[in-house]
């Protein structure tokens, strides 16, 4: 099998695991004693959030690999950009599903909880990174500046998190946010939870591979475009 076939097979695998997670989460697992059917969101929301953090971890590592002269290679830059874009999709979905869960649990769509606020800032932080890449035309500048911006974000995230945690704990009495999971999750609930994490991670991997290949093809097309333009002006190379 060639590479493209492998990617397609893997995509089908990711899709199947997500479908199984849905069936398990929506129909097979029992409703929770306290949260009722609402607990079914636990099979998607934390998994989606985990993938968002994973994606930004990959962005940070590959940006560092690009900046470090010994490992400098455009592949790292393309990987960082691909992973960020997928990460932004997952971050947006984390906020949406969290909000949907929050409405019936806390009675509001949004609350200034530490985790929610950090996640919202993450979304705009990496949207900025993608915007910076889009406006930087020179390929090498885009790679270097993108990597520096990703490094800034990487250092910033723990500081953001710490400040937001203090903001909520130093000044406000206990928040409504204690929808902590029922500590006694057993049997099929635990398996479905685990499957959710695996299936969304598989979806992430497939998406990053796809996005990376698109980015690589675009870069090749860019090069070819330049070459063609040169050929038109100067004759054959």
């Amino acid at each position: 099998m060639n590479r493209r076939r492998w990617v397609a097979v893997f995509g089908a695998f990711a899709l199947t695991t997500v479908a199984i997670t849905y069936v398990m989460g929506l129909w097979v697992t029992p409703p929770d004693v306290f949260q009722g059917n609402l607990v079914r969101l636990i099979y998607v929301h934390p998994a989606v959030a985990w993938v968002a953090y994973l994606a930004y971890g990959v962005t940070s590592l590959s940006s560092i690999a690009y900046l470090w002269k010994k490992t400098r290679n455009y592949k790292w830059d393309l990987l960082a950009a691909s992973s960020t874009e997928v990460g932004v999709v997952f971050t947006a979905l984390t906020l949406i599903t969290g909000s949907i869960w929050g409405r019936p649990t806390w009675g509001v769509w949004w609350t200034w909880d530490a985790r929610l606020t950090t996640t919202a800032l993450l979304l705009v932080l990496y949207l900025g990174y993608l915007a910076l890449r889009r406006v930087t035309e020179d390929r090498e500048q885009r790679a270097k500046r993108g990597a520096v911006a990703a490094l800034i974000a990487f250092i910033d995230v723990p500081i953001v998190h710490q400040s937001v945690v203090w903001w909520k704990t130093l000044h406000q009495s206990a928040t409504v946010f204690n929808a902590d999971l029922n500590p006694k999750i057993h049997g099929e609930m635990a398996w479905t939870l685990l499957l959710g994490f695996l299936s969304f991670t598989a979806v992430y991997l497939w998406m990053v591979i796809k996005r990376y290949e698109i980015a690589k093809a675009e870069m090749a097309a860019e090069e070819q475009g330049i070459e063609e333009a040169i050929r038109e002006r100067v004759g054959s190379l």
Binding site: L26, L41, L93, M207, A221
Partner: protein, 48 residues
């Protein structure tokens, strides 16, 4: 179930689904464009 659960699953499906479709369409288009460029490149050579 209660509306919220359905909405949550629907949002994830719609979000990931539309992004996945966009990825597939874009990669197919790029691949076709490359094939065309190759054919164009070879065409004048045959005429030479």
């Amino acid at each position: 179930m209660n509306g919220y659960v359905e909405a949550g699953y629907a949002a994830v499906t719609a979000g990931l689904g539309s992004y996945a479709i966009w990825l597939s369409v874009k990669s197919r288009r790029l691949r076709e464009a490359f094939v065309r460029v190759k054919v164009d490149d070879e065409a004048p050579k045959q005429g030479e």
